[in-house]
């Protein structure tokens, strides 16, 4: 299979970008959990 160096480098960068994109998901999960924590606190405060 023939692939130029430029093509190879570009696709390698794409794979790296995809990998980095997936690593950012940890922050999103933590943010969603923080929202749940807020709901729990609100629930607890109003129930008291």
């Amino acid at each position: 299979m023939s692939m130029s160096d430029d093509e190879f480098a570009m696709i390698t960068r794409e794979i790296e970008a995809s990998r980095a994109n997936e690593r950012r998901l940890v922050g999103k999960v933590l943010l969603a959990l923080a929202v749940v924590a807020v709901v729990i606190i609100v629930r607890w405060r109003w129930a008291a």
């Binding site: 190879f8 696709i11 794979i15 995809s18 997936e22 998901l25 999960v29 929202v35 749940v36 609100v42």
Partner: protein, 505 residues
């Protein structure tokens, strides 16, 4: 422990079963956090195999032009790409369109014609496979639907995973792309974030993929040959069967969330109902067919893991859990209303927390869909269920408000009326499915009287905001159970496409 107390505990367990699918669902969302580290990118590499694209088409003239043109714009070497469209005895303009496209893209677009068609998608695919596998040009095969439009970089993002010979197949992130789209398309758009962007990442983490999307499944030649070069024709779930067989033979199936393709989905409940009953019946068939796989861990695949069985069966059995939960609440109410109230609150607080977590994360994971579908995301369980969740989480302010409103209106509820309201909400856990079914019937009835695509028909369908899109999907699954139990005929009902699909950002 007395017999009555024992029965109460059993009923409480029944009630809490209603929360199990949501808790298991939320656990998938937690698994998404691991996808940054448990993924296949370490073994992916630049790889551009000679790829044949197989497109089954029956009366698809409205959609094929866009999808073929977009395929020819793929950022992929032209000499390593061939498109084979299998025309399943179309009676519309499909043959003429394909002749024109073959002339426009010589050596790239091939028109294969079945003179006798109508047997279903898998037969059409097998016709194309026979031709493609007959010579050794093809190194990878992409199976897609005629209406699907590919982002320019999507194919090479998928093929990079095939650089690892252990990978048998790769699927992409299918997004809802109808333009301008209806309220239902926006619901489906959000649903696809949960069912694909989230659930399939979690399945990557587990190492067990439930299904290669029919609109975007890339196979290595070795995998296709190991599968006998045929697609299963005996069920309504050929995609899932291909996926399972790939994994059972020890090959990996990868979901590539950054390869995005766009598909046109039904704009009205009637079309969605047909499509999803077919899918749900297929899942019931798969469950039976692979009964020797469930909960039997294996060294060659992860389909037999307990965690995958939990994901599969909690989704499949969701309608049953809802019925059991509701029945438990109603019986408990007549035995001990205080216990019923506590169980109800426990169930809905649990559901509320799962809903907040899953909805927030789904909106964060796909911001472009979030901008388009945030209302549908919030109303996915339906307005009534959302109101119940808010009430169970913050009962006092809601209770005060209701008291204020009823006092201001001069309405004073009797004990019997209070009981009626309580029973309504206890029944709602399962009756929401009946309500969703009634919305479907109403849309059909109005559509039949005034025309399927009239504003009035669309308006009646929008009652789904009150009843919930989730309950609609559960009602469809329930219908699939009934059809399978009755042994109803397997009819391949084509989903109507209009060609109003395109790339979105």
């Amino acid at each position: 422990m007395g017999a009555a107390s024992m029965v109460e505990w059993v009923l409480v367990v029944f009630v809490l079963l209603g929360a199990v699918p949501f808790v298991v669902g939320a656990s998938q969302y937690l698994a998404v956090a691991l996808h940054g580290h448990r993924n296949h990118y370490d073994k992916a590499a630049p790889f551009l195999p000679r790829t044949a694209i197989l497109v089954p088409a029956w009366n698809e003239a409205l959609v094929l032009e866009t999808s073929i043109d977009q395929l020819m714009r793929l950022e992929y070497p032209r000499d390593r790409l061939r498109i084979y469209v299998v025309d399943d005895a179309s009676t519309d303009n499909t043959p003429a369109l394909l002749a024109a496209k073959s002339a426009q893209y010589p050596g790239s677009v091939f028109h294969l014609r079945r003179e006798i068609g109508g047997q279903g998608k898998s037969h059409t695919l097998n016709h194309g496979l026979d031709v493609i596998l007959a010579d050794d040009w093809m190194e990878a095969l992409l199976i897609m639907d005629a209406d699907v439009v590919y982002e320019p970089d999507s194919l090479r993002k998928m093929t990079s995973h095939l650089a690892d010979p252990a990978v048998g197949a790769v699927t992409a992130y299918i997004k809802e792309g109808s333009r301008p789209g209806t309220y239902l398309n926006r619901f489906i758009g959000f649903e696809y974030v949960t069912a694909q962007a989230i659930a399939r990442r979690a399945q990557n983490v587990l190492g067990a993929m439930a299904c290669l999307a029919g609109g975007a499944q890339l196979h290595s030649r070795a995998n296709l040959e190991a599968l006998g070069g045929r697609i299963d024709t005996s069920s309504l779930a050929e995609d899932t069967i291909t996926t399972f067989d790939t994994e059972l033979s020890g090959r990996i199936v990868v979901f590539e969330p950054n390869a995005v393709v766009w598909a046109e989905e039904p704009g009205q409940i009637e079309g969605l109902w047909k499509q999803r009953v077919r899918w749900a019946r297929g899942n019931v068939q798969v469950t039976r067919r692979y009964k020797h796989v469930w909960c039997r861990p294996s060294k060659t695949h992860s389909l037999g893991s307990i965690s995958f069985a939990l994901l599969w069966f909690t989704t499949l059995l969701l309608p049953l859990f809802m019925v059991l939960s509701s029945a438990g609440l109603v019986i408990l109410y007549f035995m001990d209303s205080d216990v019923a109230r506590s169980a109800f609150r426990g169930l809905w607080i649990s559901n509320a927390l799962c809903w907040v977590f899953t909805t927030t994360l789904a909106l964060l994971v796909d911001p472009s869909t979030a901008r388009r579908s945030w209302r549908e995301a919030l109303m996915f369980p339906g307005l009534i269920s959302v109101a119940i969740m808010i009430y169970t989480c913050i009962p006092r302010p809601i209770g005060w408000t209701v008291d204020e409103l009823t006092d201001a209106a001069g309405v004073h509820l009797t004990t019997g009326q209070h009981s009626g309201i309580a029973l309504f909400f206890y029944c709602w856990v399962s009756m929401c499915m009946v309500a969703a079914y009634l919305v479907y019937r109403l849309e059909r009835a109005v559509g039949a009287r005034s025309g399927v695509h009239t504003r009035r028909a669309r308006w009646s369908g929008q009652l789904i905001y009150i009843v919930g899109f989730g309950p609609l999907l559960c009602a469809i699954t329930f219908t699939a159970y009934i059809k399978e139990l009755r042994g109803a005929a397997q009819v391949w009902e084509k989903t109507e496409k209009t060609g109003q699909v395109g790339l979105r950002t």
